[in-house]
Amino acid sequence: MLRRKQLIALGVMILVTVILLKLPTRTRTNLKLAIGGFFIPLYGAAGSTEQLLNSASYATLPRAELVRQIDELLQTNQVLQMRFMLAEEWRKENERLRQQLGLPRQYQRPMKIARVVARDPANWWRSLKIDRGSRDGITNNAPVLAVHGLVGRVSEVGYAESQVVLLGDPDCRVSVLIADEHNREQGIIAPSSSSPSDDALVDLGFISRNSKLTAGQTVVTSGQGGIFPPGIVVGQIADFRTVGFGLYKEARVSLAVKMNTLEEVWVMMP
């Protein structure tokens, strides 16, 4: 039997839990972000320590290695400048053709870089925290990208930090299409049902049974749903199968971004 004090404590805890769970979503999110703010000093300390370690490792790097790296970067820079010039030409041409056809102009949304400061400590969600918030102009549902493709979307925005739900989380479903000349089939990206622990794989569902799928086809965002702009690379088809008694197909998509090695991400601004 529980003693009186223990019963009172249990009652108080149950009450607090019920109140917290029944709070309006906005209040709950704000409270959550405020409590999460307790950890901002530790994020700062961890970031500074990392920088200190990095600068220490740079100090011990041999000069020959540095010169080799600079040479490599100069070469890469030249290649990228060439590609940028070509892309600029194509952009202008694209704009001109759009104007002639009377299509609306496409705007490039600005991007902001953010550092990944924490990952979800629970085993049943896929999310991470970044060090950018409303003070940096981040808004809810902003798409989050890495160099190789889509990462997820912002789910909660605090003043100095935000939470990002990753592709493969039950709360991050994306409308995509297969970027193939002969197959522009659309589908929905959802958590992998066969290997949910593997954060490199997701499921691509709701593809018609007549769709011609092959392994290696690139999957990009379709732009439907209004959150993600079209054309962002999501991944490549790893394999596929027929489900629902042959009514439709389902594919496994290998994500373009390695979620477990992410250190920096780009947030698309509104």
């Binding site: 409270l31 990952r119 709360d171």
Partner: protein, 203 residues
């Protein structure tokens, strides 16, 4: 006829007898809880290697339940739960109750537990680390959330429980050491009493 002791007073006396934690220890446990939550959110090596993130809070709750007051248990379970939910995609408050219930069940029967034995500590750590995720999951499913759960969750559950079992005796050793090193310990009184000193020689 022997003198009868009021049951409530007897309970208080028993509680104080089994309570080893001072305010210093409570503060130390809270600080460690804070650091552990941060560690769980930033240390990802085991997650990359085994696909599991460990949860050390249940083992801390076991330590507090066995050595601390009810208030200390409330603080560790409450703040630990809130902190972990704040860094996670969990709805706020969902981990608070499972941690407290696990701690309370141990706290209420700690008078019958050989809490200095590492084996008992391990078993309690194992039970708490196994129970907390299950209760949390039940609450989550009742909230109409859709956590990533499947057969692989069994593997995660086994690893989390095993790590919790190993961590519990380690917390006992760690906090004992912290107390030995940092806390004030009164010097035990010796047998010497100046008023009983035998004066020898001529006066």
């Amino acid at each position: 006829m022997g003198r009868r002791v009021c049951p409530s007073k007897r309970g208080t006396r028993n509680a104080k007898l089994f309570q080893r934690m001072t305010w210093f220890n409570t503060f130390a446990v809270l600080l460690v809880t804070y650091l552990v939550v941060f560690f769980q959110a930033t240390f990802n090596e085991l997650r990359h290697f085994a696909g599991v993130q460990v949860d050390l809070l249940p083992s801390l709750v076991v330590y507090t339940a066995l050595n601390g007051s009810l208030l200390a248990l409330c603080l560790v379970a409450g703040l630990g739960g809130l902190w972990i939910d704040a860094l996670s995609a969990n709805p706020l408050g969902v981990t608070l109750l499972p941690l407290f219930v696990a701690g309370l069940l141990i706290h209420r029967s700690r008078e019958f537990i050989l809490r200095d034995q590492p084996y008992a500590q391990m078993m309690l750590g194992l039970s708490a680390s196994a129970a907390v995720p299950v209760i949390t999951l039940i609450i989550l499913l009742n909230l109409d959330a859709h956590p990533l759960v499947g057969w692989f969750s069994l593997w995660q559950w086994i690893v989390v429980s095993a790590v919790g079992a190993c961590a519990t005796p380690a917390w006992f050793a760690f906090f004992d050491w912290i107390e030995r090193v940092l806390n004030y310990r009164p010097v035990p009184e010796g047998g010497y009493r100046p008023d009983r000193e035998v004066k020898r020689g001529r006066t």
